[in-house]
Amino acid sequence: MADAAAPPLTEAPDLKASKPGVGRRLLRNPSVLIGGFLILLIAAVGLLAPLLTPIDPAAINPTNRNKLPGFETTERDDEGNKVTRVARMGTDSLGRDIYARVLYGARVSLTVGLAVAALSVAIGLGIGLVAGYFRALDGVIMRVMDGLMAIPGILVAIALVSLSGASLLTVIVAVMIPDIPRVVRLVRAIVLSIREEPYVEAAISVGTPTPKILWRHVLPNTIAPLIVQATFTAGAAILLEAALSFLGVGIPPEIPTWGNIMAEGRTAFQLYPHNILYPAAFLTVTVLAVNMLGDGLRDTLDPRMAKRV
């Protein structure tokens, strides 16, 4: 063979211009920016609710029932000074301040969204890795998941509430259970394709133990799609929690949530639409923001699903 083909003794790889990093691409995506900003704003509203309004969201005031937004009352506070309070979003049929209730309600919605997303992804990831990698268990696990998927979330919630009573935890568990199979299916599909990759086979043949193979070579491939899945799960969970509270099978009525504020206002909706409109607006904006964030994340993190420009 000709000497012309002889390679130099050692070669260095070409340094190709690297693409902008994930972080920078995320910051360039308008959906991510707007969705992320709105979620942060609502989270801040929820956290800072005591600073934004001095009114106790649970305080019942029979004299000021069903007042329209902007209604002013003059009360004496604990030290006897006169203070004027404005019910910015009016009051409900028990005279509770809707503005305060909506602000505090943000806490429940975001907690449920975050907890359901995090828990269903964590549990689903574990089950999915096992189902995808250990073929013997796959059939059993997936049939159980199919079964879980067939149960409507609201029925699970009603069953759980009647068994263990209404609480935040019950709602989180109830909303999470039907979401787990979705995560399992996603993870399993990724694992099934990754385990056939030659680099996984190479890892097997250099004696890497199975848990390490899963952790090092398989798991990183699931992260981007899971982040995307988690955001959509969060959006759906917030909506489902509101629906459960609206039906009265969710969070106990003493804790304000957007769902049970709307449930309170349902009967008198035609006379006092503000009882429903304000929490509904917050709910809509929150779910929209979470879904926008999810869309943006999908376009940036998962180029296969991005629409072609």
């Binding site: 063979m1 012309a4 030659p198 190479a202 097997i204 043949s205 250099v206 004696g207 133990p209």
Partner: protein, 541 residues
């Protein structure tokens, strides 16, 4: 040939998007194809040969603009400035194209006959009866059996070769003046490839079609071309009649390419025979059946049947065969990536065929495997250094020891040791394959399996990797199992070859003996089909 050219390219330049490794995919290429002539466009990957084909068909994506001053003329008609409607009319009627992958080029949910019919219905005013008659005649012309049945078949019901024949029928049904064939036989087995090449030649001679044939394989060039054009990085470096270019290449690059093509004749063995050496691997009646047990009895397919051979230290056994012959299954059974159904695999005397995974772990390091696809063999998220040290650290080496060893191995495979902290995407295909070899060697194996390890590489890179493998085998006195479909490669690196067909070894012997006087009918057919067999490569230059 005196008649006006079918296709004429003059100063054709096609740009690349900003940030690419060069400004133009193709720069000032001029060539012509006369009626009844086959011009081969040869080059390594990234040389721009397919870009020329797509440019001619007017199928370039927006990111690849044809530069001003370029001229593409089909029978004298300018194609650069023509509008989309006219181009659509010209495709099929005056120029046809066949692609590399016949499965993806055909619509899987449409009958083959209907796909050809679409072309006729779009471009002619023939009635349904007349169209059907023409299609059946065309299917017969491409030598497909039972045209009626072929007309009604879906692509998945046909073999790769049959699908490519349908593609050819579709491209030629309107008797275009120009046929562009973009690596039409690369995805096919060697015997099928020979048939398709013969078919293209026959149809082209009959109708006087001009053919622009794109390939990377000099064997195919020797087989089919009247003239050859050699592309390097988008520049035409040499053009001339086939005999002249292959025998007396003028340009240095052409000489290097042709010299890199392995010769079909096995070289005289210069190394001492391995007969006295200990047997590293011995398989006895290895069987692998796939299938499933169903409630009502399953069905079984034997991928490997009764395969027995042995490899001694310092020796290379080649397993050659076409796709589906079971050669890769044998390799994967031996590496215990899959479990053999029956038979034994003796590794230095220990049977590992049915050893449970726990006990197997200690022995895994003795067998290492290098895979075909250099782009998928390395985890893209880990630096090449991390990939190389993974194995030794699994067996208790400290990070420092493993790192030092990785640096030595990088030198052994002729890569810069400082590149260990780079990621796989920063390396070329050949470099990655060398990293995979380094990763395998880090385990200090006794047996190295190369499963089509050079098949995805360009011919010049392939030559380097083959030389490296032979060097390493000799330096480290390894036993090597070399799986390949490429007879030329097998001829060059293997001491012994086993020819597999339908899961069985049909012929096994020293390379020179098998290549010199093949005994089995299948082996003879395989050698007969090898393109450019009569042409003595690897000697020129």
């Amino acid at each position: 040939m005196s008649s006006a050219p079918v296709l004429e390219l003059k100063n054709l330049s096609i740009g690349l998007p900003k940030g690419s490794d060069r400004a133009d995919a193709v720069r000032e290429v001029s060539l012509s194809v006369a009626p009844g002539e086959i011009v081969c466009l040869v080059g390594e990957s990234g040389s721009g040969k397919s870009v020329i084909a797509f440019g001619t068909m007017g199928l370039l994506p927006k990111g690849l603009p044809v530069r001003a001053g370029s001229r593409i003329a089909l029978q004298g008609e300018d194609l650069v400035h023509v509008n989309e409607d006219r181009l659509r009319e010209l495709r099929c009627t005056r120029m046809g194209m066949i692609f590399q992958e016949p499965m993806t080029a055909l619509n899987p949910v449409m009958r083959c006959g209907d796909q050809i019919d679409e072309v006729l219905a779009e471009h002619t005013r023939l009635g349904p009866g007349e169209r059907r008659r023409r299609i059946l005649a065309m299917i017969e012309q491409v030598h497909l059996p039972d045209p009626q049945r072929m007309y009604g078949s879906y692509p998945h019901q046909l073999s790769g070769g049959q699908r490519q024949r349908i593609m050819i029928a579709m491209a030629l049904v309107l008797e275009p003046a120009l046929l562009i064939a973009d690596e039409p036989t690369t995805a096919l087995d060697v015997t099928t490839q020979a048939q398709i090449l013969r078919l293209i030649k026959e149809l082209q001679a009959k109708a006087g079609t001009g053919v622009l044939f794109i390939t990377h394989d000099f064997g195919v060039v020797a087989e089919i071309a009247d003239r050859v054009a050699v592309l390097k990085h988008g520049v035409l470096v040499e053009m001339g009649p086939t005999e002249q270019v292959l025998k007396t290449p003028q340009h240095e690059y052409t000489r290097m390419l042709i010299a890199s093509v392995p010769s079909h004749d096995p070289p005289e063995r210069t190394r001492p025979a391995a007969t006295g050496q200990p047997v590293v691997l011995h398989t006895d009646k290895l069987v692998k059946t796939y299938g499933h047990r169903g409630l009502f009895g399953g069905h079984k397919v034997a991928a490997v049947r009764d395969v027995s051979f042995e490899i001694r230290r310092g020796e290379t056994l080649g397993i050659v065969g076409e796709s589906g012959s079971g050669k890769s299954t044998v390799a994967r059974c031996i590496a215990r990536l899959i479990d053999p159904t029956e038979g034994s695999i003796l590794l230095s005397g220990t049977d590992i065929a049915s050893m449970p995974n726990g006990r197997l772990r200690g022995l895994r390091r003795k067998i290492q495997i290098v895979f075909q696809d250099p782009y998928r063999s390395l985890n893209p998220r880990r630096t090449v250094g991390e990939s190389i040290v993974e194995g030794p650290m699994n067996y208790g080496a400290t990070a420092a020891e493993a790192q030092a060893r990785a640096r030595k191995l990088m030198e052994l495979v002729r890569l810069d040791p400082d590149a260990l902290d780079r990621y796989p995407h920063q390396f070329s295909g050949g470099q990655r394959q060398r990293i995979c070899i380094a990763r395998a060697l880090a385990m200090e194996p006794e047996l190295l399996i190369a499963d089509e390890a050079v098949s995805a590489l360009d011919v010049s890179v392939q030559a380097q990797v083959l030389r490296l493998l032979a060097d390493i085998r000799d330096q480290l006195n390894l036993a090597m199992l070399f799986i390949t479909h490429d007879l030329r490669v097998a001829a060059q690196v293997c001491d012994e070859v086993a020819v597999m067909s339908k899961g069985q070894i049909v012929e096994h012997g020293p390379t020179r003996q098998v290549f010199g006087a093949p005994q089995h009918a299948y082996t003879r057919a395989l050698f007969e089909a090898a393109p450019g067999r009569h042409f003595d490569f690897g000697r020129a230059g």
